[in-house]
């Protein structure tokens, strides 16, 4: 029978040391949705990093003749209200979105892990005070807080045209040099480490009570080494996964802020800003909102699939 393939004699399995990370990688590669998400993201990252070579046109300059132009051979995705090539702007816009997602997650990760680890490991009064602080921060509505922060940054720090002085000036200069991205990072970073801190604290508490920590104490391992060699590595996996799952949220924050005009400075393209530029003419020129909206959706899907895949790979016992 043709469909019965001859089975290859199985090679004797070599006893290779398998770390948990390598095991997780193997499981991740078996998850098709996650791999698809990963491939999409790789393409996006490639395009974003090499935007200068990939994008067919400049993102700042357009031709008046091409205002609102629909898709054509020269401009596959059409042009926006200023005749700028949509494809090029989308590609450059990926930089902002990905950067917002990654930097947001990274900042939240660093602050959250440090805070949670200290709080959980030292316990007692330290823990109590630190967690009450988190509780208070939690009471603010995140989005509102980000909006307020952005308004504050934009209005009081970036004095347009006038070179501000001192610390404020430095901040606003950095922000201007980054096309308005810096304050987005800052806003997201300040507000989004709380969940991570709580998670890491909880994990630390549970790891701290395991027998291998007790064994380490019985051996006479110094506290610092227990913290970094025994507790931290066991907390890191879930902490990373949690932040990977947060990335889509951060991308959405950026898009939203840019949409309401608190994000990047024009002419820096961001998907959220493209949406906001396009929605006025949405009825007659639907492509203006279609592409950036699609770009956001696909990116979010990709991150979600990959994030879920990573989570499942690290914890195969947990089923959805």
């Amino acid at each position: 029978m043709p469909f019965l393939r001859k089975r290859e004699p199985r090679e004797p399995k070599k006893a290779k040391p398998r770390s948990l990370g390598r095991d997780a990688m193997r499981r991740l590669m078996k998850n098709r949705a996650a791999v698809a998400g990963g491939v999409i993201l790789l393409v996006l990252f490639f395009a974003a990093i090499f935007a200068d070579f990939v994008a067919p046109y400049s993102y700042t300059e357009g031709s008046v003749l091409d205002n609102y132009a629909g898709p054509s051979a020269a401009h596959p995705l059409g042009c926006d209200f200023m005749g700028r090539d949509m494809l090029s702007r989308l590609i450059y816009g990926a930089r902002i979105s990905l950067a917002a997602g990654l930097v947001g997650a990274f900042t939240a990760f660093i602050i959250g892990v440090t805070f949670g680890l200290i709080s959980g490991f030292f316990g007692g009064k330290t823990d109590n005070i630190m967690m009450r602080f988190v509780d208070i921060m939690y009471a603010f509505p995140t989005l509102l807080l980000i909006i307020l922060l952005m308004v504050f940054f934009k209005s009081s720090l970036s004095v347009s045209g006038v070179a501000a002085e001192g610390f404020r000036g430095t901040l606003s200069n950095i922000d201007r040099a980054m096309g308005g991205m810096f304050f987005i990072f800052l806003g997201i970073g300040i507000t989004s480490w709380l969940g991570e801190a709580r998670l890491v604290r909880g994990m630390t508490l549970s790891v701290r009570n395991t027998e291998y920590i007790e064994a380490a104490r019985a051996i006479g391992v110094p506290r610092r080494r227990i913290l970094f060699r025994h507790v931290l590595p066991n907390v890191l996996g879930p902490a990373i996964v949690a932040q990977a799952l947060q990335i889509p949220g951060f991308i959405l924050y950026e898009a939203f802020l840019s949409f309401i005009g608190l994000g990047v400075n024009p002419p820096t393209p961001s998907w959220g800003m493209m949406l906001s530029d396009g929605y006025i003419a949405m009825r007659s020129h639907f492509h203006l909102v279609l592409w950036p909206a699609l770009a956001i959706s696909i990116t979010l899907f990709a991150f979600n699939f990959l994030g879920d895949g990573i989570r499942d790979a690290f914890d195969p016992r947990q089923t959805r």
Binding site: R18, Y212, A218, G220
Partner: protein
């Protein structure tokens, strides 16, 4: 302190305060260990038995100062501490040791845990787990450390190729061997075995018990063997201490304890040991009720609400813990008059 006594525990108490309310004031305490006395001679195995929650694990951990004892003295004749070795010295009081002394003492007293799954760090290789004690005590580096780790792994029945693997690649019995290797790599004198076989399959239990006995002979180890399985304890220990609700109720050599129990609780425990002999029928004593809460233990003898021999004195006065002769210690008002039923034997 006798010359060959390695560890002498006097009046060890461990209370866990219960904190409640906004200001976390301590209102009551769990009296996990409520004053125990025992000693262990060099090279012997002292079994410590009792039902769940009687404080036997807490006692073991307090002796190693993994838990801070509330009161009592833990005199330990550490091989490496000069003042402990001088003539007439009572040994180091572990309960009062400074952090620096404690660090040095840890080389001589180690612990083997019950759960072979949670007692090994999943992020470290076996080589790193067993080598860590050498690292933190600065005893061997590089290839010398590796050699030593390999030596210990071989002694517990593992192989060189296992060194680079991670704990999740091993079976329960193998993992327990890794835990034993970690405890032995520092060449300790005293090893507290905290229910080392309770989490293993019965077939593996025997292997690990035999290994522990072999290692004891080979390295001259002294064991404090905490367990709730009387058959296991009977097999491995030379002397047995029976705990009930934070106190030792009886302590005697294994033969005596089983042949001539002097405390009603021991009698009940001993009667529950199954004997693989269908013809033997001896009355099995079933204790009524539950173990009272260690937060407010009953007055007098802790055991009186469940004791079928209890008299008025038992309700009001705590019995003294005394030697009936030949190191048969017991804490019961009626030890001398009662004729209790010995263990069934083949």
């Amino acid at each position: 302190m006798e010359k060959n006594v390695l560890l002498q525990v006097e009046g060890l108490v461990k209370h866990f305060p219960l904190r409640k309310g906004t200001f976390r004031r301590s209102k009551a305490a769990v009296r996990a260990v409520d004053g125990i006395d025992l000693f262990i001679r060099e090279g012997e195995t002292l079994g410590l038995v009792g039902e769940s929650g009687c404080g036997k694990t807490t006692a073991g951990r307090s002796i190693l100062r993994l838990l801070e004892p509330t009161a009592g003295r833990i005199l330990f004749r550490s091989r490496r501490m000069a003042e402990a070795m001088s003539a007439g010295a009572e040994g180091v009081d572990v309960a009062k040791a400074t952090p620096r002394q404690m660090h040095a003492l840890r080389r001589d007293m180690q612990i083997i845990f019950q759960d072979p799954y949670s007692s090994l760090n999943p992020r470290m290789t076996v080589g790193a787990i067993v080598g860590e004690p050498l690292l933190v005590h600065n005893l061997a580096r590089g290839s010398a450390r590796e050699d030593r780790v390999l030596e210990v792994l071989t002694a517990v029945g593992l192989k060189a190729e296992h060194m680079k693997r991670y704990p999740h690649e091993f079976s329960g019995g193998q993992r327990q061997r890794i835990g034993i290797a970690r405890a032995l790599v520092l060449e300790p004198q005293l090893v507290v075995c905290d229910e080392p076989v309770s989490a293993l399959d019965v077939s593996i239990q025997a292997q690990v018990l035999n290994l522990l006995e072999d290692l004891q002979r080979e390295f001259g180890l002294t064991y404090l063997f905490v367990a709730h399985n009387l058959s296991v304890v009977k097999h491995i220990s030379g002397r047995v201490a029976v705990m009930y609700l934070g106190r030792i109720v009886e302590l005697a050599s294994t033969e005596r304890l089983f042949a001539d129990p002097r405390h009603p609780y021991t009698e009940a425990l001993v009667s529950a040991v199954p004997v693989p002999e269908p013809d033997i029928t001896v009355e099995r004593i079933i204790l009524e009720g539950d173990v009272p809460s260690p937060v407010n233990p009953p007055p007098g003898c802790h055991f009186h609400p469940r004791c079928r021999y209890a008299i008025e004195t038992c309700r009001t006065q705590a019995p003294t813990y005394r030697d009936l002769g030949e190191e048969h210690f017991v804490a019961c008002h009626r030890s001398e008059e009662l004729r209790l039923q010995p263990a069934r034997s083949k």
